[in-house]
Amino acid sequence: MKEKLEQLLLTVQKPGRYVGGEVNSIIKDLSQVEVRFAFCFPDTYEVGMSHLGMKILYGLLNAKDYCWCERVFAPWMDMEQAMREHDIPLYGLESFDPLCEFDIIGFTLQYELSFTNVLNMLDLGNIPVYSKDRKELKNLVIAGGPCVCNPEPLADFIDLFVLGEGEEVTIELTDLYRKAKAENWDKQRFLRAAAQIGGVYVPAFYEVNYHEDGTIQKIEAIEGAPQKVTKRIIQDMSDTFYPENFVVPFIDTIHDRAILELMRGCIRGCRFCQAGFIYRPLREKNPDVLCTQGKDLCESTGYEEISLSSLSTSDYSGIADLLDELIDYSEENKVNLSLPSLRIDNFSEDLLEKVKRVRKSGLTFAPEAGTQRLRDVINKNITKEDIFSSCNIAFEGGYTSVKLYFMLGLPTETMADCEGIIDLAQEIVGLYHHLNNRQKGKGVTVTVSVSTFVPKPFTPFQWFGQDSLETIVEKQMHMKDYITSKRISFKYHASKTSVLEAVFARGDRRLCDVVYRAWKKGCYFDSWDEHFYFDRWMEAMDECGLTVEFYANRHREYGEIFPWSHLDYGVSEAFLHREWLKAQEAKTTPNCREQCAGCGANRLLERKEGKCVE
């Protein structure tokens, strides 16, 4: 197979994606291995290799002597075509063995538009795509990641889903598989046992009944599976497994650097943000532990950059200590520090000074909405003054461009809110021009980037119907016309992908047929604009008698049973609904450090008598 492959590699773009052999990739002696695990990322090598979760689980699984975890990515179209023509199945990058030779095939579901790639990868690996067609225990297909909070559109294809954080449950599952394999269990027996592990959701063990109008009547557990599946969390971030090295790619990937995970969860409670709710409760990692991990990673990889990763890096309580120590290390060793996800209201001069010593690039802020009223609706909890003072600090610090992120189609949004976005950008341009010590001869650029809001499960906006495509386009066009300054650069996105995202985010398992049909029609790599075929998706929906309107645009009533109602992510439905009502009155909720809002995620904590933050 290697020889066959070699002939193809020089005929495709970026062959470095398909050859493995990178520093820190792990090769094991097959005769010593009992469980072979294929970690599959349903997108290209460059995207998948940037993903922290894969690095953690790859290190964790390979730390077990009995298990060998390999990496598998979706081949780009030219390679796929060549592979299909020459009858080369999708293979693990470490061994070059076909996917169908692996025991466990684990996908990570990071975004809805990668669903069809899951099917395509299974098919390329000579594995039947439907769970029911895989009779044996071998080729057990599992999936984790944020989209698993509503995995129903993939329920017919995946044998079991893993809810929440994977460090513990993945090992528990693999241990169980090892035992089952040694004792020759059949697949059913394994699934029944696996369903008893906390956080494991076996979709085939849940029967879903529908009302005539298509909404769900009831979801019933069978085969002894729990009526509610609760997500897993890691109790103590400081003593959980973290890899001492990363696989270092040969080719350029999206993020090719050391990553430190400062914390999980977020104190903010922005109502549109799914990550802000499904990763609760907040758990921070000790700064000393982080420093050690950062240095270890740099030494084992040779990376020239460390990224401090979290949902809101400036909310990490040990940020000052951490930066002080890391900056010394980074200057001495010529390593850059990068701090994505800084919040606008606590972006201090002190912090900017520290970031500036490291690297000077553009600054990006995310006000998300253009007017104070709408920012209160989404509970962003920043004011215009916060935005202005951050921009002022940036301009005075020598920056001449800022980038602002917004969403369109938020609940209660009117055309006045859309105009508010442009007004805000205009005022920032003015701010720069009134600056006394601005650099001579240098103009300012304010980039306004708008995306389309997608309502997600486990957020207060899960009841909200997404704006129709026509409404979004109308808003985008109006904003474009409303701009008068050349200093404002307006960027907006084709919103058709957001429509499909909205369908899947809150879709039920009847969509499995749609996913299958669309894939058969040639839909995959849907997140890549040039390969997104909206009409084929609409055809598939039609053929299944389903509509976009029902899933994406319909407003839902409190009390409706959602496709994910049997899944528990800690935050209670009662809390989410309270937030939904407050949102409609434009009332804000203080962050978790100011006052506990009683979201319910503290129930998941074993420590501190259920208290998440000090």
Partner: protein, 237 residues
């Protein structure tokens, strides 16, 4: 090489000392999976290996300091090589064998340091390179007859891409065949080409032949760079 003591407190003096340090030339092989690493990516790959090896590499002193590193003759993607040359500078005097050992430990297995030495020639002096070109084909006898027939003519005109666009060139004076061997399912040629400022890759020749002979789809070509030479025929060091 300077024997003066390195003083970490005196930057200006140190820079003067470092400036006096000779350029180090590292010869390495790049084979197997490493042949899929493009020239652009090899720079990053080497930088990270040097960092992992904790070698005291000199950084440029500009606004955005980076590791000083220079490659003699870029290798096309997909070629194997046993004679790649990379130049860099150290901030401290170091034993060449130790550099080789530490660097090899940090490098991916398909890139191996062969020799570490002081730079002798300037990369601009490079004039020729030799390659081993292997054709995997069904009928080696017929193949070699056809290839030799092809290379005998006075003029082999092909289109060559350059920075200024595509233009027609005659390959004939840029190549010479040094030797040939044959075996079960392959023919191998030792080819010397013009290299350096004016550079010709063997692929130009093999592509032109395979296309003319209608063998492009049925033949696999493997190229191994063997040696780099100066104008007078001596080996680049």
């Amino acid at each position: 090489m300077s024997n003066e003591a390195f003083n970490p407190m005196n930057t200006a003096e140190n820079n003067r000392l470092i400036a006096q340090m000779p350029n180090i030339r590292i010869f390495y092989s790049k084979k197997g999976r490493a042949k899929y690493i493009s020239h652009l990516d090899i720079t990053r790959c080497m930088q990270r290996a040097l960092k992992r090896a904790k070698l005291p590499v000199w950084y440029t002193q500009g606004f955005n300091p980076h590791m000083y590193m220079s490659f003699a003759l870029p290798l096309p993607l997909g070629y194997d090589s046993e004679c790649e040359a990379m130049d860099l500078r150290m901030t401290q005097k170091m034993d060449f064998e130790e550099i080789k050992e530490r660097f090899n430990q940090a490098l991916p297995p398909d890139i191996r340091v062969i020799q570490v030495a002081e730079q002798v020639h300037k990369p601009q002096e490079i004039a020729k390179a030799s390659y081993e070109v292997t054709f995997l084909c069904k009928n080696p006898q017929a193949f070699s007859t056809a290839f030799e027939e092809f290379s005998k003519v006075d003029e082999i005109l092909v289109m060559k891409r350059t920075k200024k666009g595509t233009k027609q060139v005659n390959l004939k004076p840029e190549f010479s065949i040094l030797g040939q061997e044959q075996g079960e399912g392959f023919v191998r040629y030792h080819i010397l080409t013009t290299a350096g400022q004016k550079n010709f890759n063997p692929t130009l020749l093999t592509d032109a032949f395979l296309e003319q002979a209608g063998l492009a789809d049925s033949t696999e070509v493997k190229v191994l760079r063997k040696q780099i030479f100066l104008g007078d025929g001596s080996i680049f060091q």
